[in-house]
Every structure is written in structure tokens, then in C-alpha cells.
Symmetry: C2
Subunit: 556 residues, 2 copies
């Protein structure tokens, strides 16, 4: 039995997720001093959000009370802990006299320009731990790591692997995201904030907010308030402008950029509630002829008035957001909808444009408006793979239909965010949600396990020259069958899988292929999950607790 | 659009689940009087649990605040409600001078001897509503129905379909259950109680408590306390004898019988922690040679000492429980485990028995012990389909491997509880839980949707003479990948599906085949789900809210 254990027990510190770029650990016990503190002696004017992050870290150190996930829960260390050295403090410092900007400022710098790296040293001899970085964002990432180093035994917060040295930790990709659809079902601000907290614990950098869709328009936009007041499910299911700023600030303080998507020209039936004049084929039947799912409805992309209207409300929203990225969507444009819309046909005839030309002009106008407020456009893959339209070279393309399509996007020299349904769609596998179909399954069966997501290779089928096009990727929750009731449980800990993929890259830091890293990842993921539960996120059990206590004993 | 709606809108009162045996509704608005009360004028000494049920019903009438699931949420009734008649009270009475026993007493009568029927009349003219039944259990079922009749509009609790008359409601099958596995992962008592509440809302009659398994033994049994103190995950993850009685009482007061299962002789590795002498192949590797899942370990069924020990602790527990049913399990006995166990081979040799003969003697002894404390044994299907052992004729058999096996069990003339994995396993479809398998899926893929479960025919492939063998059925949650965090969301509202199947029978009350009833069932199930959320059960959205507001608009 002992041999068996030695073979399968990973050498990593269990609780770290994502695994750092470099990591050296020892074998000493080290406990947190009762007077443990986190200090910033060399930072004269620390930003408020950094101070808040420090306070939160200290709170977690007291409240996590995560016992080791081994048989006995670490009780064998009880005697040793009585005489173990105590860590008096963690000292944070910025390198190179860097200016201590707010984390929220660093988190929204143009993608690729953010400085998330840090170094961390936790000595075993009772001298202070040291965390250094080039930015407050790097310090935040390091604080997150520090908060994952500790276990609880009989009220003592301790590590059994001191000294711990992370000479360098830095993400492989800047975009490490999670997408939430708040249009099919509504999620209160508190649910989004709790999700942002959990995202920050796994060092995610981007919250892709698929805010509106054909089912509802819950986003209040100044100057266009009728969109939400008539398009939301109810007056209490609207994100007010204050809510939006609250979410953006909350995210920023946790190192997360908020990429808002207003999907166009398809997926816009909810706009017909306030502006029927701009929507083709609203709620037409039978819906499968007009849309990928009910209800149908698309912006009249050939209409000058609709183009101006769309550009205006997108610019109005985008101008209030700190992110440099903004998504105009572009998935699943239904051609029959436009073919059957008399107004669109008239507009096309009048302008002499084909539908593709009109689409190009429409997207171009909207993206031009975004450019005027300093935003880089993001689109779904169809805009470059299924349509022949002109897009600016800096456009970011999300690959969703299949992981196989990344190469085609790269061949067109666009930057890529991996969001493939065959690896990263969290909603797959929950059965057919359309009514009246007793034998239906979800369109993207089967369920995407954390194991499947974890084996994703961000650089597969790309040439070396194309590697630089990959910004990162994300797991996604479309909410046909989700609501606040299962948000945590369908997302966590699964979505942590891609967070590690895009932090560590195409292989694990030591060069291990990702698929060979599952055995060592699972114990860490268990630790993460139990810690999430302690922090109030309803992350589900991945295995029987018996297995979580015995790494390797429940491998297939 | 109007024609479309008329075609698809069901004629049922939306919120009723399960649908009553008979139902007549009108078209009048009726509101609850501000002084509305529930009275029992003819019951001189009402039992405490009936009074508590009445109090709970009155609370829900005030707190549900469920708006109609239609566009406008019923606002069109606003004016009409101002002048609508008010219902002053609901009067409960027992027919035939029946003795008002506690609901908990009625709920645990021998299966088939319970009286769950009731009649309910809610006049539209402002006269009192009347609920009658032959037992307090029937009154409880009727109260549950009454609590589902009402919607909220601007603070007014009302129905739009008065008068409502249920001349007869009675279940087709007495066993309408839900099974929870509390051994693979532990569920605190509060989670079980919340589950019992939700079960009662859909008139379920049986909580099948798969209490212990190879992973843990969380059940404290007087005289055998070492089983839990050494076999539970921790001292705080034990159901004390007080907890067990608390759960049983809580269930009984809600019309629910608690069928406890102590699975034997397989699935008993957790007993090896306290009694290694009774367990063959404990935690043997590689586990697939010794068990269906890790860890392996089975009671030494050929040992006289083990047989006595097993009979004793099962009798000790069963004697404390009011139910007449008790399950000794019997699934997935691994023959190789016994073949490799020297002790078992020695015992077999000494007795001159084959393994099958030893199994028969073992089960016979355990069931005899159960009989001595008045219990009827329940077993999994393998005990009659895969083994050639002698069982008493009153044994109840749970069919789980395939719905196709019910006929074989019936052919042997045993009573049946339908629990087939191909319809009713709530855990299917969540991916492989064993580690280190990136492409694995759950063994019983795909996910079992409510639609699939709803089309189950309890009498399929049985002869008319065999129909009487069907006691009912249940959905089940095995908890490899479940924990308190996703209990509600993986169970509800899906498990309500079988609750209606076994309340209404092989067809809907009007003779509609079940598969043709999906369209009318979905709006009612939405209502049930939204009501569950209002009552604190985290039941998930089955569709986008847009669809829930538009019956039929999101059919496939």
C-alpha cells in the first residue's frame, strides 16, 4: 500500500491552483503566528483595493479552516506543530519603484500589457515571507497563492511543506476567462460577485458578460433605458447603471477585466419589445426556421437607422466601461430571417448591397463606433469563418463551434480566445431543454468534465508563428437550464480547469503533457473545491469524500 | 399567435403537481380573505402533526407569492380581483368518524394499507372550501393540493380558476419515493429535512435512505456504535440515534415513510474500519477486480460469526424504526472478492456450502432477524435475478439495472419498486468521476431528463395479473459527484417527474398516454419549480424564463 501511495502521490503542494510556473517546497512544518500580519513597508500610498485584498486574505487565513485531504486529516502533525516555527508576517513590495496603481487599473490594461507575475518566498525559519511583483496586480495574484498554502489542524493554520519558494510565477496567456449568460435566466448582482470572487481565487483575468440576448435585455443603458425597461424580464431583473459599475469595480479589485458582450445582429429579439422598428422576424414561428433557438429576432442590419441605433447604444454602454475589449457578438445570424423580412429586402434593394455587404457595413459601423471610445472589438467565430466581411486586424475572435476551428481563425491572422463547445461549454450534457421531447439530449452532449477541459491544448494545430495569436480561453455557461440555484454547482470547481490550462500553457510547467497531469491535478482540485465551499461557493464534490482523502485510489 | 396559444395551452390548473385524479375548474377569480383560516370543527383532538401541517400551509399561502407564469404575470386580473369574492376558510373533516391518528402513524402503515385519498372543493361564491378524507394522511395530501392552487398579484393571493372541485384524488401506487445515498458524500440533517419537505410537496410517500456504503458508515446504531465512530468520515459526519429519530419523525409528519437500507453483503468496506474480522477483500487493489467501484470490501457471508453480527446490527437499527420496510441491499456482490478471501474459502469448505448456498443462508438469517422485529425485507434485483437464493414471498424487489428487468422480477412473483437507471438515476450524465480519465463519461449516460422519466410506464411488459405486484417507484441520487452543494439542483424539479408518474399511473387521469402529456406537464412543472425556489429549495430552471412565461413556445 505504501509503494502504491508513493507512486501516485503528486509532488506538488496540494492546494495550489493554478500550479505556479516554478515551485520549490521543503518538508518542515510552519504555522502562522497568532500575530501574523501582512505588511507593505515600502509602499507609501497603497491603493484601497490592495488594502482590501490584504484584509480579505487575512480573513480567509482565519476562516478557511481547510484540513488536509488525507486520511487522518493531518493529525500526525499535531505534536510537531507544537514546536514548529511561526511565520510572523508576509511583506509585500513592488519592484523597480513601480507606482502602486489600483489593482483595478492594472487589471484593465490592454490585453497583453498586464503584469501579473510575482515571486513568493515563505521561509521555514520563522523569518518573514516575502512577496514581490512589478504591479499591484502581480501582488494580488501572489496574495491569492499565499492564501492557498495553508491548512488547519486543531485551530492552528499551518503548512507542512516549508520552506516554499516560487521564484517565478507568471501566466502563459493573458485571457483566462469565464462567460456567464444573464439573458436566458437572470442572475442577481450578488451571484455575479460571488462568481467573481471564485474566479479570482483561480487567477482568472476576464469576466465575459454575455449580458443580453433574445430572451431578455437586462442591461440599463443611459440614453436607451427603454431597452431594459421593456426588454428585461421584470423591473427587478435589470442591472442598473450603478449595478454595472459595481460589478466592474468589484471585478477590477479582484484582478478581473469585464468584457461585456451585446450580441448583434442576431440574438436580439428582446429589442423588439422597445424598438420593433429595428427587429426583423420577431418571435416568428415556427422558430427553427428563423433562429437557433426561440425566440427569433435580428437587428435590421441593412437599415441605416438600425445601424445608427445599434452603434449608438453600444457606444453609450462601452464608453462607461474601463475595459479595452467589447464584444459585438455575431454568432448564428439567420439568413432566412432577413430573406423573409420585407423591410430588410427593401433596404438591400435600395442600397444595392448583398446581405453579406450589408452585414459588413453594419459590423464596420458598430466597430467604428467602438473604436471612437477606445475599444477593441471581439466577435464570435462566424464573423470570420462564415461571413466574408471586413474586420479590423485587431479584432479578437472567439472560437466556439469546435476546437478544430482555431486553425482557420489563425490562418486569417486574427487573435483568438478559445471557447470551444467541445471542451469548455459547462451547460452540455444536461439534456434537451426544449419541451415535448422525451428522448432529447443537449446539442453538445456529453457533459464536459474537468478532466476533458484540462487536456485542452491551446496551441494545438497552430504554427509556431501563430502561437502569439492565442490570447487564452475560457469556460462558458449558457443558461437555458441554469439559474442562481445551480450557478455555483454547475460552474465550480469545473471552470477552474481552464484557469489552470491558460495560466500554465500547452504543458505543465515541468513540460508534462497536460493529459499526463490529471493524476496530480485532481488532489489540488479537491483542495480548491473544499476551500471554495468554506468560502461560501457551492462547488460540488468531484468524487466520494473517501477518494478525496486518498489521492490515486479512485483512478480508473 | 392567438390560435397558436389556444392550441398548446393546457387545460389543467398550472400549478398542481401531481395532477389529481379528477379535476373540474371554472373561470372565476377568487381571492383568499385577509382573515382566511383553516379549521377542523369536527375533529376534537387533532394530532399535533396535522396542526403543524395546517400552520405550514397557512404560512406558505402568505410567503409563496408565486406569480402566474404568463406574459404580464396575471396583471390583467388586477381590476377583477378588486371585486372578486373572498374565500373565508378551508374546513377539514374526516369521513366515517375516522380516528384522527397522527399523520406519521398513517404514513408508516404497511404499504398498500395507507389511505391517501381526499376530496377538495373550493367554491367560487365566497362559501368555505371543504377538504375531506378518510385519514389524516389524506387530509395532508389535500392540504398539499390546496397550497398549490394559489397565485400572487400585488399582494393578493388568488386563483383564476374557481370553482375548483377535486371529487376524487388518490394515488395509483403507494410507493412514490426518492433515494438518497448519504455514504459516498455526507448530507447534514438539515439537507435531508429540506429534501423531505420538497418530497412532501409532490406527495411522495417514501424516503429510501441508502445510509451506508463502502465509503463511509455514518449511522449510529445502539450497541454497535463502533461502526459509525470508526466508519464515518468524521465524528461530525454521523447521524446520531437522535438524528435518525428526528428524520423519521420529520418525514412521518409529512406523510413520508423512511425506508432505511443497510446494503449487504457487498458495499461494506466501511465496516472494516471497526470490524476487520468480518470483511473480505477490504480496500484490495486493483479495485476493479474486487468491486464495482472503490473501495472493495464485503461481509464474510459464509462466516457464522459475521452472519450473526450482521443480523444483530440490522435488527438493532430496524427495531428503532417505525417503517414496516427495511432494505438489506444485495446489489453488486463481487464473486472474485470471496474467491480470493482465505477465510471465506475456509468457511465454505467447513460448511460444505457453495457460495450461492452461503449467500442464501446469510440473507435468510438477516431477513429472519428483520422478521422478528416486524419488518418486510427489500432487496436490489440481483438477489432474485442473478442469484439462486430463497427469499420470503413478501420480499420487495427494487429493479435498478434496467427497466427491462421488471418483467423478470414479476415472473418470479415478487413485488416491485421501479428504480431503473435508464429512467430514474439522477446522477447519470455528469461525466466520469474516476480520476485520470480525460474522455470518460458516466456509466449510465446520458442525463435522465424529467421528460424521459415522465414517459416511464410502470406497467410496461407486465401481464394484467402482474400489475398488482407494482408498488411504485422512485428516482435516485447516488452521490459520487453530489454533495450538499448540488443536492437541490440535481434533484429538483426532476424528481417530481416520477412523483407524478406513480401518483397518476400508467396514463394520465384522462387516459392520455404519458408521452403525450409532456406539453401539458411542463407549465405545471415550471410552476412547481418556481414555487420550490420561493420555499427555499434550490430547484433549477428547466428553460429560459422567457419559455416558462409562454407555454408551448419552446417546444422542439
Amino acid at each position: 500500500m505504501l509503494l502504491f501511495k508513493l507512486l501516485v502521490l503528486p509532488s506538488f503542494v496540494h492546494a495550489l491552483w493554478p500550479i505556479p510556473h516554478t515551485l520549490q517546497t521543503g518538508t518542515s512544518l510552519l504555522k502562522l503566528s497568532p500575530t501574523f500580519d501582512i505588511t507593505l513597508p515600502s509602499i507609501s500610498k497603497p491603493p484601497q483595493d490592495l488594502l482590501a485584498a490584504i484584509a480579505q486574505t487575512k480573513t480567509y487565513l482565519h476562516t478557511d479552516k481547510l484540513q488536509r485531504l488525507i486520511v487522518g486529516r493531518g493529525a500526525a502533525s499535531s505534536t510537531g506543530l507544537q514546536t514548529a516555527r511561526a511565520l510572523p508576517s508576509l511583506t509585500l513590495s513592488l519592484l523597480n519603484n513601480a507606482t502602486p496603481h489600483a489593482i483595478a487599473v492594472e487589471a484593465v490594461r490592454p490585453i497583453g500589457m498586464r503584469n501579473e507575475g510575482y515571486t513568493l518566498s515563505v521561509p521555514a525559519d520563522g523569518s518573514p515571507a516575502v512577496l514581490t511583483a512589478n504591479s499591484t496586480l502581480g501582488l494580488f495574484r501572489g496574495l491569492t497563492t499565499f492564501g492557498q498554502l495553508w491548512y488547519d489542524l486543531e485551530g492552528v493554520t499551518y503548512s507542512y511543506e516549508a520552506p516554499i519558494k516560487i521564484a517565478k510565477d507568471v501566466p502563459a496567456f493573458p485571457y483566462r476567462g469565464f462567460m456567464l449568460d444573464t439573458a436566458r435566466n437572470f442572475f442577481p448582482v450578488a451571484d455575479i460577485k460571488r462568481t467573481l470572487d471564485a474566479m479570482s481565487w483561480v487567477k482568472m483575468s476576464t469576466f465575459h458578460w454575455h449580458a443580453v440576448d433574445s430572451q431578455s435585455f437586462p442591461l440599463d443603458i443611459l440614453g436607451f433605458r427603454e431597452l431594459a425597461s421593456k426588454g428585461a424580464y421584470s423591473q427587478s431583473e435589470i442591472y442598473t447603471t450603478a449595478d454595472i459599475q459595481d460589478i466592474v469595480s468589484y471585478a477590477g479589485a479582484r484582478g478581473i477585466d469585464v468584457l461585456v458582450e451585446l450580441d448583434t445582429p442576431g440574438h436580439t429579439a428582446s429589442i423588439s419589445s422597445s424598438h420593433p422598428e429595428h427587429i426583423a422576424c420577431p418571435l416568428s414561428t415556427p422558430w427553427p426556421s428563423f433562429a437557433a433557438e426561440p425566440p427569433s429576432g435580428q437587428l435590421r442590419l441593412a437599415s441605416a437607422a438600425t445601424t445608427t441605433f445599434t452603434s449608438s447604444f453600444i457606444r453609450a454602454l462601452a464608453s462607461t466601461l474601463p475595459s479595452t475589449l467589447f464584444s459585438t457578438g455575431g454568432d448564428e445570424v439567420n439568413l432566412n430571417c432577413y430573406a423573409k423580412d420585407a423591410q430588410t429586402q427593401m433596404d438591400l434593394k435600395a442600397s444595392g448591397k448583398t446581405l453579406e455587404q450589408a452585414l459588413s457595413a453594419f459590423v464596420g459601423a458598430v466597430h467604428k463606433a467602438l473604436g471612437e471610445v477606445g475599444k477593441t472589438p471581439v466577435v464570435w467565430e462566424e464573423m470570420v469563418l462564415e461571413h466574408n466581411i471586413t474586420l479590423s486586424k485587431d479584432t479578437v475572435v472567439m472560437v466556439w463551434i469546435s476546437s478544430q476551428h482555431a486553425g482557420s481563425v489563425a490562418a486569417k491572422n486574427f487573435r483568438i480566445v478559445h471557447a470551444p463547445s467541445d471542451y469548455f461549454y459547462l451547460d452540455c450534457g444536461a439534456g434537451e431543454w426544449l419541451g415535448n421531447n422525451p428522448s432529447g439530449n443537449s446539442w453538445c452532449d456529453p457533459f464536459k468534465t474537468w478532466q476533458k477541459s484540462y487536456t485542452f491544448d491551446p496551441l494545438a494545430s497552430l504554427t509556431t508563428a501563430q502561437h502569439a495569436l492565442v490570447l487564452g480561453g475560457q469556460q462558458l455557461l449558457w443558461t437555458e437550464q441554469s439559474s442562481p440555484e445551480n450557478l455555483d454547482s454547475i460552474v465550480w470547481p469545473r471552470a477552474a480547469s481552464s484557469a489552470e490550462v491558460f495560466w500554465t500553457g500547452a504543458t505543465l510547467p515541468d513540460g508534462t503533457p497536460r493529459s499526463a497531469g490529471l493524476a496530480s491535478a485532481l488532489p489540488r482540485l479537491h483542495d480548491l473545491r473544499y476551500r471554495m465551499v468554506r468560502r461560501g461557493v457551492r462547488a460540488i464534490a468531484l468524487q466520494p469524500h473517501w477518494c478525496a482523502l486518498r489521492p490515486g485510489a479512485c483512478d480508473g
